[in-house]
Point group: C2
Chain length 263, copies 2
């Protein structure tokens, strides 16, 4: 495989908005192959839980996943959202296949320890478990893998994982096939020096300026684990991580790029 | 591929019963490859519909599928049931991948005409649409395809199909790869000459004795479309169709076999 693999992750905010999703998928269908999509869940799971009288409990932005909630997220993420995306991409001429980690045993996870917080059936991905041979087989057949964030433990237990982490693990596995870029799409045009100013995109983050950006407060809150995740991807073989707006997937030179120190 | 492909279909009665499903999957995992599983939905969709206040309407045993019900069956069949089966088979050492017809564009359907009965988002499979190349690619990689009965129309619309028909269409496509047997597993040990007597299994049905069996009333009701379906499979390349109990998948010489007239 000569061309760079693009692993693109979209979050719940795009999944929640049918028009935004349609526009994004139209761009994604036009993105040069080889490519992989990883999608978050959006608010449908919370809505379905509420309709079923199941209380939603979030701790640090993560969903506490008891047995009933696991059924809900399996239905919504692996069923409704994944198959809607797959059928829409097919209509756009983009041949693709929806996957959980259990399918073709492509990603394994372990249930997160109950201490300090018991998240229930939440999984932490076993980085080395991601099967680059399955990914390579699909890409070679021109079939785009579309991952939701449900995985399994290999012993019959499905687990709810974090979509950002799935994207990172898949990108690291893809980088064992050929050069791979990981593109996190979200609602902002990139990492902003001033959160109130969309034109203040920081074009590049390196380990050196990351420290400064954290110290001066430009990078804070939920952006810190995202960028830590990006550096972990870089350390494990991914070429570039790009954080950009879902509405500018095809725009070159947009968003914030996280690179290796040596580049 | 030298060995016969076995396409096995299980119905809702097995899916509904966790213990029966576990035993069936344990047998299925031991069945010699190459093999394919097609599963029905079971009563979870009706249960979820009821919990959400969506009325279930069945006509001639088929679910009328409005937009809300389509979401329900997509969640239950493609999400909950399919991924539970996939993760359980993985735990049994049977590498497999869950599929709807939209995945890898493997089965296309058309929405059934609204006359004489408007079933909503119910699809009729386009027999020639089933991709034997995708099936061959998976079987060659030792990955067992596990189909639910959700397909798509290629224009972005998911459709609810009949699992018996999915199994038949998949078996016909598989028969273009190599010799293929289609095995319908259900709650009885086979087609019975006397419905009250489980030991009255008719070992073989040919076009000649089928007429007699219908005339004398031994074959009636819901068994007629099942056997018509079986003959359609035989006419389109499938070698044998076997109707047997889900609990005797591995028992040789069990159930009722439907063969070509010439055999």
């Amino acid at each position: 495989m000569r061309r760079t693999i693009k692993v693109v992750k979209i979050g719940g905010n795009v999944v929640n908005d049918p028009e935004a999703l349609k526009m994004f998928l139209s761009d994604f269908a036009r993105l040069e192959k080889p490519k992989i999509l990883v999608h978050g869940g959006g608010c449908e799971a919370t809505r379905l839980s509420a309709a079923l009288g199941i209380e939603t409990c979030m701790i640090d932005g993560r969903r506490v996943t008891d047995r009933e909630t696991l059924d809900v997220v399996t239905m919504v993420y692996a069923g409704l959202v994944n198959k809607r995306i797959v059928s829409q991409l097919q209509a756009l001429g983009c041949d693709c296949i929806g996957l959980t980690g259990a399918d073709a045993d492509v990603i394994r996870a372990v249930r997160r320890p109950a201490q300090p917080v018991d998240f229930g059936y939440v999984g932490d991905i076993l980085a080395d478990s991601v099967s680059e041979s399955v990914i390579a087989m699909l890409l070679k057949s021109d079939i785009v893998p579309v991952f939701c964030a449900i995985t399994h433990d290999g012993h019959g237990q499905l687990l709810n994982c974090n979509a950002d982490t799935v994207a990172q693990a898949v990108a690291c596995a893809a980088s064992r096939i050929t050069a791979t870029d990981l593109i996190y799409c979200f609602e902002k045009p990139g990492v902003l020096a001033d959160p109130a100013d969309d034109s203040s995109v920081i074009p590049e983050i390196t380990p050196a300026n990351y420290l400064q950006l954290k110290e001066c407060g430009a990078v804070s809150g939920g952006m810190i684990p995202k960028i830590d995740n990006a550096f972990a991807a870089i350390a494990n073989g991914v070429r570039h991580v790009i954080i950009k707006s879902a509405s500018s997937l095809l725009a070159p030179m947009s968003g914030t790029t996280i690179r290796k120190p040596s580049e």
